[in-house]
């Protein structure tokens, strides 16, 4: 356990839907499944317009090592393979499937044969699993460690520190057996000896439920975390559950830890038991503009407008719609955006909630410095960016900013601190690229120089 706690901010909890078990929503008429629902290379479509697909059919294969296959989430006909604009601004192919309303399960869906490490990892790869907490890193890649002896601990993330979101809460309460089974799988096939489940203290029911589980399995330990955002941030979670510090620029693996979201662990057990790949997602639908906030299970690819329609529509016109929580969630441009694999919540904020105060002068109160979990100086970094001081940005370790948003949240002058950090990272990236290009040019010029002289000599 850690001696000093990393800082954070006390955000409102707004866990309005914590007591609502997830309701499965019927398949929409049409789903749009993007090929990039994970970190890494987009998947490559295997179907073409007019093909008939069933739930669980592979419709796209992994497009590289760091990638994941994609499966049909409804049964029906492939309407088209189009282009989809990701929230990152990149365009990737997407497969539109028109549902026949039958939700016919594919013949391919049968429990995988898991007997050893290799077959388990193959099953994880085939399941299409990605980190379900939000980051969407392909689970297979995360678990396929070169040197298995390197990992001694799996930290299971049940912190769910973002306001509103309760989908992990429901996983811990409703799918505790699957989490237990998932832990057993990791124990058996990957030989991991220690499991730590980190849960924020505002979820006593989840802590109790997981402690029951820990009582049955001595390898499992439950750590209750303070209700301070961002407990679920990877480095913060590792530090508060194991006391280990992930050095700058290193991975959790370097301190012998793999972090997995509790829903991912439950999903692995479900896949090994049933063979049903990742085709649906439990998400929290909430926010001030939503009429009936609740947890729902929706097929991957369901448009947000269908999700909100299932939840009774809008109380009033939403001003902003988010994937994920209000602290790190991404605002979407249109309600046509689909539910994707790593969506754990969709929030619709009304005008008042979406309104942001305009920034005023920094009063040097130090709140951003004293609340930064990474112990950075956001105000100082912001000033460094304003005067384009690359050295100060590098020295201030802006690269360590995990963009949790505590600084912007707490700032009494509403300064866009985290936004400036993002710009600073981009500024450094561009500056580096420019310098590299210049170096290259210089090197080429130096190479070309003797030739020119030779030619001149000939004349």
């Amino acid at each position: 356990m850690s001696l000093f706690r990393l800082k954070g901010v006390r955000t409102p909890h707004r866990k309005n839907t914590a007591q609502m078990p997830a309701v499965r929503m019927p398949a929409a008429q049409e789903v749009v499944i993007p090929m990039s629902m994970h970190i890494g290379a987009p998947a490559t479509p295997l179907v073409k317009a007019g093909d008939t697909v069933c739930v669980g059919d592979v419709i796209a294969e992994a497009g590289g090592f760091v990638s994941a296959p994609v499966h049909a989430s409804v049964s029906g006909t492939v309407k088209s393979i189009g282009e989809f604009l990701l929230t990152s601004g990149k365009k990737v192919p997407c497969i539109t499937v028109v549902s026949d309303g039958m939700m016919t399960v594919s013949d391919c869906v049968k429990p995988p044969e898991v007997v050893d490490r290799e077959s388990f990892l193959n099953a994880v790869r085939a399941s299409g699993s990605v980190g379900l907490g939000g980051a969407g890193f392909p689970t297979f890649v995360k678990l396929n460690v070169k040197d298995p002896a390197q990992v001694d601990t799996v930290v299971i993330n049940g912190a769910e520190c973002e306001p509103y979101i309760t989908s992990d809460t429901r996983t811990m309460l409703d799918r505790a057996e699957e989490i237990e089974e998932g832990i057993r799988l990791l124990q058996t096939y990957l030989g991991i000896g220690q499991f730590v489940i980190g849960i924020e203290r505002n979820k006593p029911e989840c802590i109790a439920k997981m402690q029951e589980l820990a009582a049955r399995n001595t390898a499992v330990k439950v750590v209750s975390l303070p209700s301070v955002y961002p407990q679920g941030a990877e480095k913060v979670l590792i530090y508060h559950t194991t006391g280990r510090t992930v050095p700058a620029g290193k991975l959790p693996l370097d301190v012998g830890v793999i972090v997995m979201n509790c829903t991912t662990v439950a999903f692995l057990a479900q896949y090994v038991r049933t063979g049903m790949p990742l085709v649906e997602k439990c998400i929290t639908v909430d926010g001030s503009a939503v009429k009936c906030p609740q947890n729902i299970i929706a097929p991957v690819g369901t448009a947000l407008k269908d999700v909100f329609a299932f939840c009774g529509g809008f109380r009033e016109q939403p001003a902003k719609v988010l994937y994920g929580g209000p602290m790190m969630g991404i605002a979407v441009v249109s309600l046509d955006a689909p539910v994707i694999k790593n969506t754990n919540a969709v929030l619709a904020l009304d005008e008042q909630e979406a309104k942001m105060p305009s920034p005023t002068a920094c009063i040097r109160c130090g709140a951003c410095v004293n609340h930064c979990p990474m112990r950075l100086d956001p105000a100082g970094l912001s000033r460094a960016l304003e005067r384009e001081d690359a050295a100060a940005l590098i020295k201030g370790r802006v690269d360590l900013c995990m963009e949790c948003g505590c600084c912007s949240y707490i700032c009494p002058a509403s300064r866009p601190l985290i936004q400036q950090n993002r710009l600073a990272k981009e500024y450094l990236r561009k500056k580096k690229a420019r310098e590299e290009a210049r170096e290259k040019q210089k090197a080429e010029a130096a190479k070309a120089q003797p030739q020119v002289q030779q030619e001149e000599g000939k004349q």
Binding site: Y239, T360, I363, G366, Y409, I410, C411, R422
Partner: protein, 305 residues
């Protein structure tokens, strides 16, 4: 495609506390001291403080108007500066001198350096020093409210081997500036600020603690030293000013100890009876260095920059 929605980078919620709320908390914390001043020195106290506040606000408004900057009266920082300056003046201060002090605080010390958050010296402290130096001949003597005659402050009296009782000092029934005499009211305000998380305990405790320790080391009565002069007002309200004090806990402690050291050196060996203003101003100047010395290592980033 349906209607486009607003997009913006995260975070999408903000804490409710704004700059003006922080300043309002400081104003609330100063009210006990203001009430105490009215009780001890009479209603003219309120007049002096009001004139300072009005002059500070007017200076801010006029400067921003002339330089065509956005009006920042709404953040209430000018009110705080005016109140602090007013409370650090004697009750029979000529009002025109108070007005000049307020204008110096706002225009020269604060606005010329870029306004709120950019000033390196505390406006109220600097203005008090300006008044002290500029009007040292004509400035009225600190009045002892008990007998109503012009008399020395406890620190001056100490030089003349006269003392006030601890209770008198604690309740403020002695000579001095308006807001500095009643330790009880100042402590109330300080506790309020700490509870409301406007300030942390570091600066006041380090300041008062080091002052007490040093006065004991210099063979003076620590409690008498703590309760007299502008020490409480300075330690709780002036040395904790955001712009001019360090932001890390260790930086705050160094800053507080530095203030305590300079204050006691001036009190023990200087020609002025009081050293709080000078101590804070000198430490204000060191603040950027303290901030640099005490900058924390980023989490997991201790390897190399």
């Amino acid at each position: 495609m349906s209607e486009l929605l607003t997009v913006s980078p995260s975070p999408h919620i903000r804490s409710a506390r704004r700059t003006s709320h922080i300043m309002l908390d400081v104003i609330i914390a100063l009210i006990p001291a203001l009430v105490a001043a009215c009780v001890i020195f009479g209603p003219r106290s309120l007049l002096v403080v009001s004139v300072c506040v009005a002059a500070a606000m007017l200076s801010e408004w006029a400067f921003e108007r002339i330089t065509r900057r956005p009006n920042t009266l709404g953040d209430l920082s000018a009110v705080v500066t005016g109140m602090l300056l007013g409370l650090s003046l004697p009750f029979n201060m000529p009002l025109w001198q108070a007005v000049i002090g307020s204008a110096v605080a706002i225009i020269i010390v604060k606005q010329l350096f870029g306004g709120i958050g950019k000033n390196f010296a505390n406006p109220a402290v600097t203005a008090r020093i300006v008044i002290l130096v500029a009007f040292s001949n004509s400035a009225p003597q600190w009045i002892n409210p008990v007998d109503g005659v012009a008399g020395a402050t406890p620190l001056e009296r100490l030089g003349a081997n006269q003392t006030a009782s601890y209770l008198q000092l604690f309740l403020g029934e002695h000579g001095g500036s308006l807001g500095e005499t009643c330790a009880l009211a100042l402590l109330l305000g300080g506790v309020y600020l700490v509870v409301r998380r406007v300030i942390t305990w570091h600066v006041p405790i380090a300041y008062l603690g080091s002052a007490a320790l040093l006065s004991w080391a210099f063979g003076m009565d620590p409690l008498y030293q703590l309760l007299s002069g502008g020490l409480m007002l300075g330690a709780i309200f002036m040395a904790t000013d955001y712009s001019t004090s360090p932001c890390n806990p260790w930086g705050k402690i160094i800053f507080g100890v530095g203030c305590g050291l300079i204050t006691m050196l001036i009190r023990a060996f200087g020609s002025y009876p009081e050293g709080v203003s000078f101590a804070i101003l000198l430490m204000n100047i060191l603040c950027p260095y303290i901030d640099r010395w005490t900058a924390r290592k980023p989490f997991g980033g201790a390897v190399k920059a």
